[in-house]
């Protein structure tokens, strides 16, 4: 592997990591503030991608599609919180798991009814449809750089939210305690509804910006959900630093797992088993630090 290919893979890995960070930030926001484990979070990522696909065809512009898509995602979040999630605050995690699992089935099947089961592509917007030449044969698409920049901006926003606000203080403390939130003089029902909608919107937005790169396909949501879980476990809940480090680590491990080759005793390990690499990483972290890289020791 020469230096240019290596550079491209590093950029790809970081870009994937940043995207994961964006998806996972919505997940941990809902988990940290509301104490809800939301299996359907990946599904909202998928919803975002399909919204980008259908709305960009309708409007003829990905930008308009994103704007419209975020509005729809927020609406979906508000309605779901009001209708279903608000009934789960005092219930065991088990029931949250099951209800949101039911939501996955519903959204996946709705997707199948409306869009079918084919893979779709989304066009990159006109003015980002250029590449930076690295050598005569290799170049790097500007859209991917733009994606990384957007994710970084949102990451900084999340960092400020978590480090500099009272709300963030509670997330860091791991407090998912309604009484405590209320004691800070916050309208709890409204806050929870908004936080949930924000989480949904973040996942959907990630799906939208990823759509031109990753394409749009069934099951894309669940795939990203599980990777997000791995990321949360590696990074540790309540630490932005840990989440960012875990996201980049996963991005790099996953990307390089697919391009490196490794044979052990004649059996092809990589890239054949590249899909398992991040789980191996998680296993190692669990052995060394069960509370995650930056998690608090219990």
């Amino acid at each position: 592997m020469d230096a240019n290919t290596f550079l491209i893979q590093v950029l790809n890995g970081i870009q994937y990591g940043l995207l994961l960070f964006l998806v996972a930030s919505g997940l941990t926001l809902i988990l940290g503030i509301m104490g809800i484990i939301n299996l359907a979070h990946g599904t909202f990522y998928m919803v975002g991608a399909y919204l980008a696909f259908s709305l960009s065809q309708h409007f003829g512009s990905l930008w308009l599609a994103m704007a419209g898509g975020v509005v729809i995602a927020v609406a979906i979040g508000l309605v779901l919180e009001w209708l279903l999630i608000s009934r789960l605050y005092y219930r065991d995690h088990l029931y949250q798991v099951l209800l949101t699992y039911g939501l996955i089935l519903i959204f996946e099947e709705l997707r199948s009814v409306v869009f079918g089961d084919d893979v779709h592509g989304v066009a990159v917007p006109e003015f980002l449809r250029v590449s930076i030449p690295l050598t005569e044969t290799l170049s790097y698409p500007v859209y991917r750089l733009w994606m990384s920049a957007v994710c970084l901006v949102l990451a900084v926003g999340m960092y400020l939210l978590i480090q500099k606000t009272r709300l963030g203080m509670m997330i860091r403390a791991g407090a998912s305690n309604r009484e405590m939130v209320q004691s800070l003089g916050i309208n709890i029902n409204l806050l929870y509804r908004l936080v949930f909608a924000l989480g949904v919107a973040l996942a959907a937005f990630a799906g939208m910006i990823a759509a031109p790169v990753a394409s749009v396909f069934p099951g894309m949501g669940n795939q990203v959900l599980i990777v997000c879980f791995v990321m949360v476990v590696i990074g540790g809940i309540g630490s932005v630093k840990g989440a960012m480090l875990a996201a980049i680590l996963i991005g790099l491990v996953d990307t390089f797992g697919k391009v490196l080759t490794l044979d052990i005793g004649g059996f092809e390990v990589l890239p054949q088993m590249s899909g398992m690499m991040i789980y191996v990483l998680m296993a190692v972290v669990l052995l060394a630090r069960p509370e995650g890289l930056f998690g608090k020791r219990a």
């Binding site: 798991v97 199948s112 669940n222 791995v230 476990v233 789980y279």
Partner: protein
Amino acid sequence: MRGLRAGTVVLLACLLALALLPLVAEKYYIQLFTKMMIMAIFAMSLDLLVGFTGLVSLGHAAFFGLAGYVLAFAAPQYQAADLWLSLPLAMVCSGLLALIIGALVLRTSGIYFIMVTLAFAQMVFFLFHDTKIAGGADGIYVYAKPVAAIAGWEPFTLENHTHFYFVVLVLLALVYACLRLLLNSLFGRVIVGIRVNEPRMKSLGYRTFRYKLVCFVLAGALAGMAGYFAAAQFGFVSPETLGWHQSGSVLMMVILGGMGTLTGAVLGAFAMMLVELGLQGLPVIGGVEIAKHWQLLMGAFIVCAVLLLPQGLLGLGKLASRLRSKPAEARDG
């Protein structure tokens, strides 16, 4: 005491009904009930974790699916596997996998535990999905059902669907009875204690990690038993059998029936399979093939069940009996 005896009577009646079923039912229904009983064993194995030990595992299908793959490996090229060898082998493999995964996931708890069990099961999924060791994403066929020969004599043949049915029925009853014993034993009291108040168990001097790990391995091996027979009956194993939809669906069975009771797990498995079958049999309404999109209604069913049946189906029975006994108490008072 009277309630216990009434429960036993109902249980024996159900067992009798299941034993008599092949006399009246067609082949299709015999096979259907075989499948439901296999899933009941699977659900009971998960209930051991979720309902009794308080460990919400979202990756239980890994052990179920692995045993199916073990059977597929044990029966290469149209040859039938030896039941007496391959069944224990499959259960040991599932148990070993549970030991490895359990040693890692039990270092976490609560929400983390849910996420980590799901993630490791997904790792096993990718192992079979991405590599060529067992047919990859396409899965692998089990062409012949295992043979149960003892020195040339065959007490039963699994190729016969009625024989298969009775073998599974006997196993179901056996697993149920063994788990009843287990839950009443010293070990059983410890795991229930862990569910109720794990920190207190620790301060009483129990090394809870060990008990949870043993429980995880037992549950994994039992799930392996179910997975072995599921693969034998269906004749096919694919990565989906150890995927997370399988894990979610068996978790729903446990909750639907009413977790923390073995009968609840069995009831939940039967009910869930019937609902699934009912949805798949729905007709075309207004040009929409509802049967094809049955998962949509299944999702709605799960959402409703979680919101409306917090105690599961058994809880419904308790509620009904409480409503009936209320007026009587009022009169007495």
